[in-house]
């Protein structure tokens, strides 16, 4: 797989989303950028707004919270708890979008690679051991079907 500068989104299993991207830098730098508040502040909001809060208590059981203000003035906040930390290799944490507080995801971020190349893999699992209430069912089904249908609708749209 070559580095083409785009994130790839795939569905390895039900209720899982995998996002991968290649970087031309060593993995300890990617890990540092992922875990240092001043650095996260600079990239996490992408091109959609400004980070107003980045709190990282990087230890197992420690909490994190990110808040972004979008260009339209809306506030988007996420928080969670670290479950596993292996420096330069892997971080696992829970993740809750504060707009849907009943839906918790478990996210595993792995940093692999050598010789100045890094593959970043973000595996987001919904409903892992959580009760599937109507809301999370909606989220999960929505995600799965969205990804699943992409190819098929593209095919259908192409005929028009």
């Amino acid at each position: 797989m070559t580095s083409d500068g785009t994130a790839k989104v795939t569905l390895p299993a039900d209720e899982q989303i995998l996002i991968t991207r290649e970087f031309d830098v060593p993995r300890h730098l990617v890990y540092r950028a992922w875990t240092t508040p001043e650095l996260v502040r600079r990239w996490w909001s992408g091109e959609r707004g400004e980070m107003t809060t980045v709190e990282i208590d990087l230890r197992v059981g420690g909490r994190w919270r990110y808040v972004m203000v979008t260009e339209g003035g809306g506030e988007v906040a996420f928080h969670g708890e670290y479950r596993e930390i292996i420096p330069d290799e892997r971080i696992v944490y829970t993740e809750v979008f504060e707009g849907t507080p009943d839906v918790q995801a478990l996210t595993a971020v792995t940093f692999t690679g050598a010789a100045g190349q890094t593959t970043l893999a973000i595996l987001i699992r919904y409903g892992g051991g959580q009760e599937r209430d109507a809301h999370s069912a909606y989220m999960q089904d929505g995600l799965e079907e969205a990804l699943d249908l992409l190819g098929r609708t593209a095919k259908a749209l192409a005929r028009r």
């Binding site: 830098v25 990239w43 249908l149």
Partner: protein, 118 residues
């Protein structure tokens, strides 16, 4: 599981496996309801029920040809799903693109400090 919203939201409407199967069959073109009954192996009333949900959210359209009711896919109604995925993928691409900018700078700084990696 709450199913109340199935008739108002295309995401929920397609969350049901049988309805996805119907959409799958219809990607190959317009089909009479009898074909759908045969392919799905379900009693006609059940198939009709699923088709009603799909029609309610606009995912399929129907027309009469003689005594036959023909169903076809309406790609436009499925566009929100399409757009949602695109949006998801794009926002991650932007975020990680921005991360890349930060990383290039970090690496540049390190090289500038004369410190090699590892």
């Amino acid at each position: 599981m709450a199913r109340a919203a199935t008739t108002t939201d295309v995401f929920n409407a397609v969350a049901e496996p049988r309805r996805r199967q119907i959409l799958d069959v219809l990607t190959d073109g317009e089909r009479p309801v009898n074909d759908l009954v045969r392919v799905l192996g379900l009693p006609q009333p059940q198939v009709s029920k699923h088709l009603r949900v799909l029609r309610a959210v606009g995912a399929v359209e129907v027309r009469d040809r003689g005594r036959q009711r023909l169903y076809r896919l309406n790609g436009r109604a499925l566009k929100p799903i399409h757009d949602w995925v695109r949006h998801y993928e794009r926002s991650w691409s932007e975020r990680l693109g921005q991360l890349d900018v930060v990383l290039q700078e970090l690496q540049h700084q390190q090289e500038g400090d004369g410190g090699g990696d590892e």
